[in-house]
Assembly symmetry: C2
Homo-oligomer: 355 residues x 2
């Protein structure tokens, strides 16, 4: 028998707000046994809509919030203005108070991260949070982090990201001892930024029981599923994620042109439509929706602002699955298990690498 | 009437060496009117093969070299050992001596860059070289740089990359006044590394007559063809390039599975085979082969080590087209036209951005 899991939803977040969040929550409810929602938003605009989703009524409570954070609000400004009152803050606070296992918002990333850090605080022994993405690969799914929270991470931070990513792979994807790679570039002359080389050394020397350090990987190893967890700093990680999404959309556009090319191609794709349907599903970037904030005392999921109900449902599913598997506790345990000494060697010395 | 263009080829470079370089050169010769080759390699292994490509004999001269640089050789070691004698060095030297317009090698990137810098020297007013890639987009082709030469470029270096990338777009792709974007990430809290923000300011203030600065772009804008030139530092650029290639190969694998899914799909794709052939061409990552070393006193093209003859031909084509259009001279002229003052503002002040 499965217990309940509660998700706090920021109904005002995203480009379409309640029109996207509520149907998304209904789709997710059909897929997640025992899910319950606490919904935060503006009563005047949300309550009339709620009536259209009778199933939600049964498993949800609704709380009115006077304020909604805009997609263009600056993080500091959003925090000052929206603390305590906004739908985004209230959703996060519900996690802090232990009344929900996860908060999900499609609101702006900077504001959501600023509020999450302020409200939930960094987890013990974690210097900086990371945003993790679930990346579809030829072998299944990998965890990629950081995709935008910590720019230019240090070697210790990369080490912590590896531990957190491995915990996520275990909690969400059921890997017993996930393989972990550090994202690097293959140009020999410059192989490895100092912090990446040093992080590799930390991971190698730590010999952690719950992850299998596999050395450096390159950009094209992600899609291959070469490792279960790919670790990088937030700038390169964000660019990798967005570039992959862009490439997938580019090829999907080529594919549509191909179908429409001539009479024979239209007929051909009609015959192949069952197989083609599967392909379309694989190319659907909504499957990748849901950036997971790791390294805080509580779980927050960031959905794309421009997603639709299907994409938002995917974000809720990831969140509930991780909440159910006690990801926050797992990370805390794992980090406590082995805290590397700050390495005594100078950074310039660390040229050995593990590639 | 088209004049001749001479390419110096390192016949020993790449995983397959002469077996790949010679047929590649023959394919390229059919496509490039007036091309001539100077071939460098080991006589004992290359000359017997050369006999199989009679067309090459007519337009090529061959020079024996005692030494070949290995794919695993460290750059410094390759330079010490191979200077003056290796096929890689001799090809680059031919460009320095003005006897070839471009050198093409599929040898290891680090060694090729180290030798190119040592032999050709940095161009006037250019601090660091960049490797530029031609990236197929929904609108045609864009230039992306740096994809691996200069890790963590400064704002001045990014500015120089923008100037060089625009010159390449004009020389290779015929854009009169290319649009240029700086690659950045869209997380509000951290929007813009300091050096990226500052580079944006330099470009905006310079009001260069030969490029149109379009502000920040994100990873998914590359495939859209949002701008003609995408500028970034070498770590993120290399990861973006490899990730896109990996995603394209991943989707190509899905597509093959789709074709083989069942009898109807096989029949369908048979009917659609003409349209499908065009798609296959678009997904062919060999089209992207050929990293262009910019910022040196001479033109060098790096081919993928693992490419085949078709891919190597693409690298030769890019090189000859750029040599013919006087890319090195164009860059020197453009850089001389406007050299930005080192900005007086502190980096922390530069929070305005141009996004």
């Amino acid at each position: 028998m499965v217990g309940t899991v509660t998700a706090a939803l920021d109904v005002m977040g995203g480009d379409a707000g309640a029109d996207m969040v509520l149907p998304g929550a209904e789709i997710a409810a059909e897929r997640i046994p025992g899910v319950r929602y606490v919904l935060f938003g503006d009563a005047a605009s949300v309550e009339p809509l709620l009536a259209r989703y009778p199933k939600l009524g049964v498993i949800s409570s609704f709380e009115h919030c006077d304020l909604a954070i805009g997609m263009e609000d600056k993080p500091g400004q959003a925090l000052r203005r929206g603390r305590g009152t906004s739908s985004m803050w209230r959703a996060i606070e519900t996690v802090k108070d232990g009344k929900a296992g996860v908060a999900v918002s499609a609101g702006n990333t900077g504001a959501l991260m600023a509020m999450s850090k302020f409200c939930l605080k960094d987890a013990k022994d974690i210097d900086r949070p990371a945003i993790a993405a679930v990346w579809p690969t030829l072998k299944g799914e990998s965890v990629v982090l950081d995709v935008g929270a910590t720019i230019g991470a240090t070697s210790e931070q990369l080490y912590q990201f590896a531990v957190m990513g491995a915990a996520m792979s275990r909690a969400l994807l059921g890997r017993a001892k996930p393989t972990v790679g550090l994202l690097n570039i293959g140009v020999e002359e410059v192989k490895g930024l100092e912090q990446v080389r040093l992080a590799g050394r930390l991971l190698k020397e730590a010999e952690l029981p719950f992850l299998d350090y596999a050395g450096f990987v390159e950009g094209d190893d992600i899609g291959k599923g070469a490792v279960d967890v790919i670790v990088t700093e937030g700038f390169a990680g964000n660019i990798a994620l967005k570039t992959a999404e862009g490439t997938a959309r580019q090829i999907a556009a080529y594919l549509r042109e191909t179908v429409e090319e001539n009479l024979m191609s239209r007929l051909g794709f009609l015959l192949a439509r069952r197989a083609f349907g599967k392909l379309r599903k694989k190319l659907d970037t909504r499957r990748m929706n849901g950036g997971v904030f790791l390294g805080l005392n509580g779980l927050v999921i960031k959905s794309h602002g421009g997603t639709d109900a299907e994409g938002f449902a995917a974000a809720i599913e990831i969140g509930c699955s991780m909440a159910r598997n006690g990801i926050v506790e797992k990370i805390n345990e794992d980090v406590a298990l082995h805290r590397p000494e700050r390495p005594a060697v100078a950074v310039d010395d660390a040229t050995s690498g593990v590639a």
